[in-house]
Amino acid sequence: VSALVVTGLGFVHPYGHRLEDLALALSREGRSPSQVPAASLRATPGRARLRVDGVGQLVGQAVTLALENAALLPLADPDATALVGGTQWGGLEACARFHEELLTRGPDHVTPSVFPQTAHNVALAAAAIEHQVRGPVFTLVSGVTAGLEALGWACRLLAAGRCAAVVAGGFDRWFPALGLALEAAGMVGCAEGACFFVVETEDGARARGVSPLARLHAHAIASCRRPGRGPADALARAIGRALAGHAPPVGLCSGRGGPAARDARFESAYRSVLGDTWPSLPTFAPKRSLGETFGASGPFAVAAALSRWGGGLTGPVLVDALSWGGAGAAALLVEPLGPLTRAAAVSSSMTA
């Protein structure tokens, strides 16, 4: 299999959906707004037909932007196109609504059409229907690491010859009931968003006449079998596996940006894999600007790396993620191939 490259990027975040929105957001530090403005989430006719809820609209918008950015629409080979998404909360908004109906009105008075929306894979399925993606379509629910894992699975699917192109990324929806619950648990600064990439082989991209935005060198996941130092060890193993056999990273786009105790796990992992000199690496923690977007946070970190370092750093950048439960860790080695200035990341349907 030839090298794997990123040829499209699409995202929706409370700060916006254009490259300049991302660049501006990354230049700020402080609490991000939590919700994408309703005006940015207007439903297309296709989506209205699918009757998707909020999380489905986020995913649909970001997937459409990524496919447009990669010049893949309409799909030339739907059977050979895959869609992989990662999320922490998935269809929780519909679950909350269905639970509310069940608990307050009783089983005789629930709304049947809400129930299918509670399935965590339905948001991705709706996007698959909208664009006729007919290859492998699946939803990872590993939490904060899920979006980065989705990019890893894109690489595995391509390497195994299971498809020719993959739309991969992550998403999560913020809604008031979830926000209250998260704040009660001390998780502040949460935001919603969806961020997807198109990944394909370099040969395939070249054959289509598309310039890659980045090259994906390696990916790895690991789990932690004990509490305490376990999460830091898991992250160190994931990073170590991703770096094995590759040039050392020239930059670090870190999943830090949460409570100090959690950030300490990242620093411990960096010390054990990269050595005591790791602070001299150009390092960036996009969560401090974009908020905790859970399943979308890993893909947003990749987008942030391309936005900040594309055309500036030459070589691979390490991107990582650690789940809130601390049992899962993911790492990705991505090399920006130039400035992230392609206007195609702005959909014509989104700029009015």
């Binding site: 129930f115 399925a125 379509v137 590993s142 619950a181 998260l182």
Partner: protein
């Protein structure tokens, strides 16, 4: 990127289901076609709806169990699978990961969070941390000391089959030696009411592919297989139960709930799995069908079988376990996969109780009504679910090193 092909084998299995607690009890239940369906008065359901489901009795999940039944059932099934494979807890070798498929995860915790919010109370932090689906995987990883890759997939009723397919890719790519792969889902008022409200549940029996139609019998189960690199299994001297030869998946891209009527999605998933295994439809000796008993799903699957096996001169043995185990949602694919492993290793076809000889399946695909001995070499297991997702695995009788 380079991929070194590595053969994957099944070296362990574990199951907790309404039809049997443990692999041996399960083997006996499916051989006899003994249904786990029973009255389930504890499940919320619309007033007039019969509360009938293939539920797991409380006994098998043990006394010192975690608060959530899904956690307890998964823990028991994973423990059995690892023991059968001869893999010790917290062992450094073989490097073992987890691929978990589920639609609800620890639903008790999620329901507690929602109930607290509705009552204007702060949810308990423990509930909040257990509510995401990956909390179940976190629990299993720590409980069994699994240090390999961990993936959690929620792809409706295809979840466990997808998890097994992902385990295959992880083992083949050399990222890990072994993966405990499968799924768990339990029944709650939440999912029982949801399926009842959609009008999909049976009032008495589930009759897959019946000419006059039927409805679904919901069930619950935890089922896991140990998928291992053949070289690792050989090195350890592990007993191999079957080879996991191929995996394929597809999406109908048709409708969020209703399957594409032409069966093309299942057809593509099976063809992809067979191609992955280096096989053709003619190589298949047995098909374990999703067979949930709802008209739309059964008709779709029957059309797929016609497209795949319609030309076969002799009846291809096939079965659906849904009348026995019920439809256990995210774990159903792993329940069926274990049944296929038993069929291949024991040389015995399991039946579909009350399977009608005049089923809507093509004449070339025969729904078995009674268990019988058969020298099976290759079995295919199919799954389909909400979102129009489909997946299939190909299992091969173990005949020594490949």
């Amino acid at each position: 990127v380079t991929v070194a092909p590595r053969a994957a084998v099944i070296t362990g299995a574990g199951i907790v289901s309404s039809a049997g607690d443990g692999v041996e009890a399960f083997r006996s239940a499916i051989d006899e076609g003994r249904s786990g369906a029973r009255a389930a008065p504890h499940l919320d359901a619309p007033e007039a709806h019969p509360r009938m489901a293939a539920v797991v009795e409380d006994g098998p999940v043990g006394r010192r169990r975690p608060r959530d039944r899904a956690f307890a059932m998964a823990r028991k099934a994973v423990g059995e699978a690892l023991r059968a494979a001869g893999i010790d807890r917290h062992a450094d070798e073989p490097l073992t990961g987890l691929a978990l498929g589920t639609t609800l995860g620890g639903a008790d915790a999620a329901q507690s969070v929602h109930a607290a919010l509705l009552a204007g109370r702060r949810p308990r932090r423990a509930d909040l941390l257990q509510a995401p689906l990956h909390a179940l995987a976190d629990h299993l990883v720590r409980r069994f000391g699994l240090e390999g890759p961990c993936v959690v997939v929620s792809n409706a009723c295809v979840s466990a089959t997808a998890a097994i397919g992902m385990a295959l890719d992880l083992v083949r790519s050399g990222e890990t030696d072994a993966v405990v792969a499968g799924g768990v889902d339990t029944l709650h008022g939440f999912n029982f009411t949801g399926f009842a409200a959609l009008g999909l549940l049976t009032a008495d029996r589930c009759l897959p592919f019946h000419p006059v139609g039927s409805r679904m019998l919901l069930g619950e189960a935890a089922a896991f297989l140990v998928v291992e690199n053949e070289a690792s299994a050989r090195r350890r001297g592990a007993r191999v139960l079957a080879a996991l030869a191929g995996y394929g998946s597809s999406c109908d891209a048709w409708h969020v709930i209703t399957p594409a009527p032409d069966g093309n999605g299942v057809c593509r998933a099976v063809r992809a799995a067979l191609a992955d295994a280096g096989m053709a439809p003619d190589d298949v000796d047995f098909v374990s069908l999703h067979g949930v008993g709802t008209g739309a799903m059964d008709r779709m699957e029957a059309r797929a079988m016609t497209a795949l096996f319609g030309d076969r001169p002799r009846g291809l043995p096939a079965a659906s376990l849904r009348p026995v185990t019920g439809h256990s949602l995210g774990s159903a694919g792993a329940v069926d996969a274990i049944a296929c492993v038993l069929a291949l290793s024991g040389g015995r076809v399991f039946p579909t109780p009350a399977g009608d000889p005049a089923s809507i399946l093509p004449p070339s695909v025969r729904l078995e009504r009674n268990a019988r001995d058969a020298p099976l070499r290759v079995a295919v297991n199919t799954s389909s679910g909400f979102g129009g997702v489909n997946a299939a695995i190909v299992l091969r009788r173990w005949e020594g090193a490949s």
